[in-house]
Amino acid sequence: MSFDFDYLLTQWPALLDGLWMTLQVSALSILLSLLIGVLGAGIKLFRLPGLTQLVALYVELIRNTPILVQLFFIFYGLPAVGLKLSLYWSGVLCLSLWAGAYQIENLRGGLATVDKGLREAGAALSLSSRQFFRLIAIPIAFRVSLPAMLNTAISLLKNSAYLQTIGLAELTFVAVDRIATDFRAIEMFTAICVIYLALVAVLALLAGRLEAHLQRPFQQ
């Protein structure tokens, strides 16, 4: 049996649909995970009573359980307590919560590098701590944390493949689905590997652009 390119061409529309779903779910989840990261890191920085412990618990829970179990918990577990989400939103919720925990820690690393003197300068200018966080601490931390945040985003993108287990028609689902009927495993898996590689490359490229932009003020 040889590698059949013509077969792949006939499956291209289906793969594109899967790619589109993977893109949507991943892009939305990356944005939401960054939001969770900023909120969580802020709560920890300001040591908001109660919430700080909640965030710590959340981070530990996510980091110390398999993502597949988290996904099944959301998709099969939550309906039992009356929270039934669509395939799509179960996927987005799972990926966002998973990556959000890591983004909190990534941003905390960046925030730790923000000089205490800057905080005093902000206070002396009558900026509130919230304003300082938003206008000064977070932009500075973003630059420092960007490589780590990119890693998390890449992992999120790759982990979107888990969503095929609940039946969301993303890229891996499409491939597995077709293989079940056409038995063209090598073609399909090669194709989606190449697509995932390309997606990661694009993500890295975008992050590189962003980093260059954030880095500009710090060059002599």
């Binding site: 000089d115 003197g117 002396a124």
Partner: protein, 246 residues
């Protein structure tokens, strides 16, 4: 006294844990007055001026700036801070923002000015500090002296009534001290009330109305410069002067 003082400190005490850092400090500064605060390391100079804009909380005593009584309430703290500018030894410019944005930040987010008005105000202050040509540069691209002048402009953009300086030239290369001191002299001539912690006794001679000498968390002497330099009363001040002036 004809005018009510713009800074009024009565019986201020501050502890760091068991360490008594400010001991019953009282000080009144009239509007337009220029004070130089000096004293040996650890005598409480920074602590004192940092109490004035609530960067340090104090334990007891009374502190009033521009008629506003400073207490724990965030509202009182932020009102006082709007009237008090501060310049730090290490500048603390916001590194991710251009010089102009550093200056316009507080006018926009604290005073609520629109961006254009804030930028104009920033450019005016930068021009006074003769550094307007660097408005679109970033702090990392400036020399220490230039950064400190930007920091002064940034503080002035809130149009404070009092300016605090904590060793503004101590972190500078010697050849840059002059440009910063010149800016401060100009500011003093414009009538700004200034409290300056510095060991630059030339500056004290030139602009100070009063020199305040601190030791061990207390104000030991307070006198006009000529008097302080010629006839310091306390032994500690004499020792300090003999070390610093040669």
């Amino acid at each position: 006294m004809p005018d009510t003082p713009i800074v009024r400190i009565d019986g201020l005490n501050k502890w760091y844990g068991p360490f008594h850092a400010l001991k019953d400090v009282s000080l009144q500064v009239a509007a337009g007055e220029r004070l130089v605060i000096c004293g040996p390391s650890g005598s409480g100079k920074s602590t004192l001026i940092r109490c004035i804009n609530a960067l340090e909380p104090f334990l007891n005593g009374r502190l009033e700036v521009a008629g506003i009584r400073l207490d724990e309430r965030p509202a009182s703290i932020s009102r006082v801070r709007e009237h008090v500018g501060m310049v730090f030894q290490h500048f603390h410019l916001f590194p991710h923002m251009s010089v102009a944005d550093n200056c316009a930040l507080a006018p926009v987010h604290v005073l609520g000015l629109d961006r254009r008005t804030a930028r104009e105000r920033a450019m005016r202050q930068l021009a006074k500090l003769r550094i307007a040509d660097k408005a679109d540069r970033y702090p990392a691209q400036l020399s220490g002296g230039q950064q400190q002048r930007v920091a002064i402009a940034r503080a002035l953009c809130l149009e404070p009534k009092v300016m605090l300086f904590d060793e503004p030239t101590s972190a500078l290369d010697p050849e840059m001290v002059g440009e910063v001191l010149d800016s401060m002299v100009t500011l003093a001539e414009s009538g700004m009330t200034m409290l300056v912690v510095t060991h630059e006794m030339g500056f004290a001679r030139q602009v100070a109305d009063r020199v305040v000498f601190m030791d061990g968390g207390a104000i030991v002497e307070s006198a006009v410069p000529e008097h302080f330099f010629a006839h310091a009363r306390s032994e500690r001040a004499q020792q300090f002067l003999s070390k610093i002036i040669h």
